[in-house]
Symmetry: C2
Subunit: 161 residues, 2 copies
């Protein structure tokens, strides 16, 4: 695809996409977090080409999202989420919440989450890490941060995120 690589952009969205933005990567993470941890399992479940699966798994291991772990004396491994990878699953849960709301249609959500704390079926909602109140896009001001590419004193609104 000769795809542009986003990693040079001063933008956390672009950087995150560099890690999991390639086709299939989020679905691979979904499978691993659902307990499909081996090459053959993931390949059969997704119907992805073996070549691409190899590439994606290596990429995710290189970026510290997955860990390759042998489970036999033969060259057999399974892939497990690291702490960094587990936190990415949150992103998938947000995608689920949005997809359930806007795309599920008549049939309803394909899966449900039951929250351990309250034992209720629910979904994730973004809250403020400081005060705990809801924090939607319209609830925030966006300001340039220390890692912004804009030299201090120049510019106002920045597209970087």
């Amino acid at each position: 695809m000769q795809r542009t690589n986003y990693s040079e952009m001063a933008c956390s969205i672009a950087r995150t996409l560099d890690v999991i933005g390639e086709p299939w990567s989020p679905l691979i993470l979904r499978d691993v977090s659902a307990g499909f941890t081996r090459f053959e399992q993931i390949q059969a479940d997704l119907g992805i080409s073996r070549k691409v699966l190899t590439e994606r798994l290596n990429h995710l291991v290189d970026h510290g999202i997955l860990e390759r772990r042998p489970y036999d004396r033969r060259p057999r491994h399974e892939y497990v989420l690291t702490a960094k990878g587990t936190e990415l699953i949150t992103l998938l849960m947000v995608m689920v919440a949005w997809g359930d709301k806007w795309l599920a249609g008549e049939a309803g959500p394909p899966v449900l989450y039951r929250h351990h704390a309250c034992h209720e079926i629910s979904h994730v909602e973004p809250h403020c890490s400081h005060c705990g109140e809801p924090m939607r896009p319209q609830d925030v001001d966006v300001l340039p941060g220390p890692g912004s590419a804009v030299p201090p004193g120049l510019g106002t609104a920045v597209p970087a995120r």
Copy 2:
């Protein structure tokens, strides 16, 4: 790319990826939400090919994420987020939180969010829509839902999400 289209999967992650999973789409949404609402602005900011930008914008309009709105009697439009699209920005905010934590490095986050409710610089955190407590991946059980592809009575854990 002859990319497999995910929309047939009974999975809200796959369906969401069908809408914004293509390369550049999240960055286009970022730009629109940051106030870069016109073709030329987005094209200049991202350095994306005009052809691909046209395709992506049409796709996002078709899926009800963006609305094309004329701003002149000449054929000039700008793109604005719909309600459906605005809720997707939440996804970007979660990507920012993850990218800031794991990828920003020495320089620190490129942008900061100030929450209107508490006026503090903070970031989003997933909470339970029911009880309001934190809801991380390890805080939930995943159960098949009504839209699951698995017929009732069969199967246990489902990879669908």
